[in-house]
């Protein structure tokens, strides 16, 4: 598929292109809620619009991470990824996108006004980078800077039929990202083609003195001839998803050797992932105290603990649940049983996946169920919800790069598959999906900003 970025840059545009784009986007956004902020006073000149997830700091733009706790927070600096996009010159900031509060969610509903699926607004957009995916499916020429901790790029990308690329942990600087879980957070990209994702990746990746964990400098392109399907994971997929996925494997079988293998440890990845994520989240959220960032509690005559406790009532339900669980997991009496053990299991997963990924890609559906309606997602218990991350957690806990691409449309809703490779071999994923796009045309219901 041709690069939308190149196509856009090669076209003449009317002088009011960007103002009309913002107007149309604003109208459409009232139904889909993809954006928290739409920039209307853009000075863009023949630049591709890009958005940022609302947990990535943009100087002078209210950045709330989807939380009432950060309402009113206006960063006085740009995140490194934003700085690099602006400096490159081909991109212009268009707005900030909706998300689950602090990234806590699989379906985008853990926020005040959830984003809605771009193909049918009764359905879930996916989370936590819900707005990034919906924005990409609404706008013809646009790229989204998103972020994933345990599948927050893959899941919404799959549900909205866009390419969702999560680079190797440490390949892209996280300076200026509002943290969820530091050892899991990755900044990545959503786009309408793999070539566009590659173009943005080349702009934002690379060492940054402001982020010591940004340690992956060299990215390789070791192509693989085999596709591994993990038996224990595929068993968890709904029969409808499974039969569509098997049709995909039939198509890919003409180019790749498909092998079903057993990797038992991956069916045990969800629990250690959530243990690590909640432990780290509870420490990261300790800094929100009602007077330093965003929300101002204002009752300064209160004693410190009372002030702090009252102010923190502003966290949403899922955030409170994760803070309490994270605090429990870090308690001295159970830390070795939960937290340290989870870190040891992570090493097992890295070792076992690493061996398999040397020989080929791992491929799976992205989500085990068809796109759910928002009303149905609201009925899920937290454990039912977490269990749906079964395909996106294994690469996330191990820091492996992964990419979701649309491969079928059922009842006019897109379905995505996810491909994983070894750490720092990100270009091989982008090449894989570029090749897929030569024989498969992605479809969209909206094409705002068409030329």
């Amino acid at each position: 598929m041709a690069s939308h970025i190149r196509e856009f840059l090669g076209h003449e545009k009317p002088s009011d292109y960007y103002s009309k784009l913002a107007e149309e986007l604003e109208r459409t956004n009232s139904e889909y809620h993809a954006f928290n902020v739409i920039k209307k006073d853009t000075e863009a000149k023949n630049q591709v619009p890009f958005s940022t997830k609302a947990n990535i700091c943009v100087k002078g733009v209210e950045t709330t991470a989807g939380s009432k706790m950060l309402r009113g927070y206006v960063p006085p600096f740009n995140a490194t990824v934003v700085e690099r996009m602006l400096k490159e010159g081909s991109f212009s900031f268009i707005g900030e996108t909706n998300m689950d509060e602090f990234g806590f969610g699989t379906f985008g509903i853990n926020t005040e006004v959830p984003a809605r699926n771009a193909f049918d607004s009764r359905y879930a957009a996916g989370g936590s980078s819900s707005g990034s995916a919906v924005a990409t499916a609404l706008l013809k020429y646009h790229v989204a800077i998103a972020e994933s901790t345990g599948g927050s790029i893959s899941t919404p990308a799959a549900l909205n039929g866009v390419v969702g690329f999560t680079p190797t942990y440490g390949a892209v600087s996280r300076y200026g990202l509002i943290d969820y879980a530091n050892s899991l957070d990755k900044i990545g990209i959503m786009a309408r083609s793999s070539d566009d994702a590659r173009g943005v990746f080349d702009v934002i990746r690379g060492r940054d003195n402001y982020d010591v964990t940004c340690a992956i400098e060299k990215i390789t392109n070791n192509k693989k001839g085999k596709l591994f399907v993990i038996e224990e994971l595929l068993e968890k997929a709904d029969p409808k998803i499974r039969s569509e996925f098997e049709r995909l494997l039939d198509k890919l079988g003409k180019e790749y050797e498909i092998k079903t293998i057993s990797m038992n440890i991956l069916s045990d990845a969800i629990e250690p992932y959530y243990i690590i994520a909640m432990a780290e989240a509870s420490t990261n959220l300790a800094k929100y105290n009602g007077y330093k960032y965003g929300f101002q509690y204002g009752e300064f005559n209160r004693r410190y603990n009372d002030f702090f406790t009252e102010a923190r009532s502003n966290f949403g339900m899922e955030a409170k649940r994760r803070i309490i669980l994270g605090t429990f997991i870090r308690s001295e009496s159970v830390k070795a049983r939960y937290y340290t053990k989870a870190l040891m299991i992570r090493q097992m997963i890295i070792n076992e996946m690493g061996k398999v990924l040397k020989d080929g890609f791992v491929i799976s559906p992205t989500l085990p169920i068809p796109t759910p309606k928002i009303a149905d997602v609201e009925k899920l218990t937290p454990v039912q919800n977490y269990a749906l991350d079964v395909f996106t957690i294994p690469p996330s806990i191990g820091g492996f790069p992964h990419l979701t691409f649309p491969y079928a449309y059922v009842n006019e809703m897109p379905i995505g598959a996810q491909i994983i490779t070894e750490q720092a071999n990100d270009y091989a994923l982008l090449d894989f999906s570029s090749k897929w796009e030569e024989s498969f045309q992605y479809k969209y219901k909206h094409n705002i900003g068409s030329l």
Partner: protein, 89 residues
């Protein structure tokens, strides 16, 4: 989870819940901890992976850098005579 243990966690986390939240979150947390307990059956002697990749210690030079948006920082908070207001200790 005993009420006493739950209250201890709320105190450490500086969170206050209303009755509806307390009932729902406490029951969810009990279910989630039961779910986490599944890791007990996994046998492992690996070293804990605090990061998924090797992160080398990279030190940068200790140089003075100029920051020119002090007002931008102050705009985040309520001020009194130019100082950021905070609660009583």
């Amino acid at each position: 989870m005993e009420d006493r243990e739950f209250d201890r966690l709320l105190k450490i986390a500086r969170l206050k819940l209303n009755d509806t939240e307390r009932k729902r979150i406490k029951s969810d947390i009990e279910e989630i901890i039961g779910y986490f307990d599944k890791i007990d059956v996994i046998s492992t002697h690996e070293r804990p992976a605090y990061q998924p990749i090797h992160v080398p210690t990279r030190l940068r030079k200790d140089e003075i850098a100029h920051f020119d948006d002090v007002d931008g920082l102050k705009r985040q908070s309520k001020l009194h005579n130019g100082y950021i207001l905070g609660p009583k200790l």
